[in-house]
């Protein structure tokens, strides 16, 4: 991690009395933009992901679909989903979607995680698992609105896409972005990616895709992996991509209400600021005051939309 340890803005199982490091706040939020209309399903991104992250899944089976491996696993962090959809007029569309962690602004996995520091959110928006802290309870699996984390059968730890946090930290784009032969995946600041998406959506609408739009679901505070969908009005068509993902109220209830109520009860039993009641305080959402400013629109760099970290910093 190195300097990245200072970039953390949110840390699992850590309450508001001992917040995550805050100093390096002047950092741009990043985003990956996946334009499904440009994807050919070549799986180059899957190979690049495995190459960069040194992952080698099992040579599996064909289960009657193109998707291979057939699902995300602890050794497969991204999978292209192939869905054949026919509309009312029998017009067939082969809808492809690169599935993987969405890097939510309000991550359900982080909320659910009981192990301090096993899940981190960095100032640039990346949500990353610290596998040495992971205890393998699988709460992140229950917390995630997108069914992304997978627990390894061999080491009992959770794994998912890191958004190539290591590459991004040194000013490189994620491996999948670098390899995509059709330019379907772009990477840069979130503001810039939204601009790029807006242009692309206009273009798609001009070509008759009236339902085209950006997928950046507000229910999870927006995501740092976004899609341009040709049917943004029906995201479920893309392998059950949820239309309005949120952290389940059950998970919220489990993690927030119970903490609140017990805190309340105990503070009545033991009046005064006893350490025990501090310990029971609910996890406070620590946010950078600078954060809202980082949303300002800036010109995007050509082709990849990539900016180095220095450029991101100097952007202000």
């Amino acid at each position: 991690m190195g300097m990245q340890s200072q970039d953390i803005i949110r840390r699992s199982a850590t309450n508001g009395f001992t917040p995550a490091p805050q100093a390096r706040s002047h950092e741009t939020e990043v985003a990956k933009l996946i334009d499904v209309s440009l994807c050919t399903g070549c799986k180059g991104c899957q190979v690049a992901c495995s190459e960069w992250n040194d992952l080698r899944d099992e040579v599996g089976h064909n289960v009657g679909i193109y998707d291979n491996p057939a699902d995300l696993t602890s050794e497969t962090w991204t999978v292209i989903r192939f869905d054949e959809v026919e509309d009312e007029s029998d017009k067939l569309e082969w809808l492809l979607r690169k599935e993987g962690c969405m890097h939510c602004e309000d991550p359900g996995c982080l909320k659910a995680c009981p192990s301090p520091g096993a899940i981190l959110q960095f100032a640039n928006g990346i949500v990353d698992f610290q596998s040495d802290q992971c205890i393998g309870c699988g709460y992140c699996v229950a917390g995630c609105p997108f069914d992304i984390p997978r627990i390894s059968k061999t080491d009992n730890r959770a794994y998912k896409c890191t958004l190539c946090a290591d590459r991004v930290a040194v000013g490189q784009e994620p491996a999948c972005v670098k390899t995509c032969p059709t330019g379907a995946i772009s990477f840069g600041s979130k503001a810039e990616m939204k601009d790029l998406a807006a242009d692309r959506v206009d273009e798609l609408k001009g070509r008759g895709h009236n339902g085209a739009g950006l997928y950046d679901p507000p229910g999870v505070g927006g995501t740092h992996v976004m899609y341009v969908l040709t049917h943004a009005d029906k995201p479920e068509l893309y392998h059950r991509l949820p239309a309005d993902p949120t952290i389940s109220p059950v998970v919220r209830g489990w993690k927030e209400c119970s903490n609140h109520s017990v805190h309340l009860v105990l503070s009545q039993l033991w009046p005064g600021p006893l350490p025990i009641t501090w310990g029971l305080a609910p996890m406070r959402r620590t946010k950078h005051p600078i954060r809202s400013r980082s949303q300002t629109r800036r010109s995007r760099s050509p082709i990849t939309g990539l900016q180095t970290k220095r450029e991101m910093r100097d952007g202000y």
Partner: protein, 217 residues
């Protein structure tokens, strides 16, 4: 020690059962709390490093459940509701204020203890069922995620309720003098038995006696 004045209340096997369960329960409860309250994380250290605690917690939970089932078989006939439980409920204030004037027709266990018995039975059973659902290594993959979410919520709620109930149980054990000794040695004084469990004393202890009963001082 005045053995004449003492009666056997809990047999060795039952005491062993109880205290084994107590040990397992404390380990399970402490590791569980460590995952529920971030600042009580250190409690999980009773089971070693965090990963090991996560592995052991469900196995110890199963041990608690199995021991509980043994206890159920051993103790259920003492804990069935009877008509005279109503007397205890009517005088619950006197009981709490330590006024032991009248005979409350209390059997081996009073109505409050019976509630505790059934409460613990229900909560540990609920914890067992929900615990299986969320047991990631072996069972969680067989359940849909929304079910796991509900099970996690129910597991936490049941655990908190159980811990509160057990805290009450410990408090009563300490508060009613002679109870803890009874659970450790198995013996209680005749006076204790007559005062707290008069009907049990009259029906089950006194008839077996060969020695005359000393008056209660």
């Amino acid at each position: 020690m005045d053995t004449d004045n003492r009666v056997l209340r809990t047999k060795f096997g039952d005491r062993l059962l109880h205290w084994t369960m107590v040990s397992c329960f404390f380990l399970v409860a402490m590791s569980g709390l460590s995952w529920f309250f971030p600042s009580l994380h250190w409690l999980g250290s009773v089971l070693g490093p965090p990963q090991l605690a996560r592995i052991l917690h469900p196995f110890l939970g199963v041990a608690v459940f199995v021991l509980l089932m043994c206890m159920f078989v051993r103790f259920v006939h003492h804990n069935m509701p009877v008509r005279t439980d109503a007397v205890w409920f009517r005088h619950v204030l006197d009981v709490l204020l330590n006024r032991h004037g009248q005979k409350l027709q209390i059997g081996k266990y009073n109505a409050g203890q019976k509630i505790l018995f059934w409460g613990i039975m229900a909560l540990i059973s609920a914890l067992f069922v929900t615990g299986v659902v969320i047991w990631r290594a072996y069972f969680a993959m067989y359940f849909p995620i929304p079910v796991i979410r509900l099970a996690l919520l129910a597991h936490s709620a049941a655990a908190l309720a159980l811990i509160l109930l057990v805290l009450g149980h410990i408090y009563m054990g300490l508060w009613v003098r002679g109870s803890i000794t009874g659970m450790i040695t198995g013996y209680v004084s005749r006076a204790w038995a007559r005062q707290h469990h008069d009907r049990w004393y009259a029906e089950e202890v006194a008839p077996e006696d060969t020695t005359p009963v000393k008056p209660h001082s």
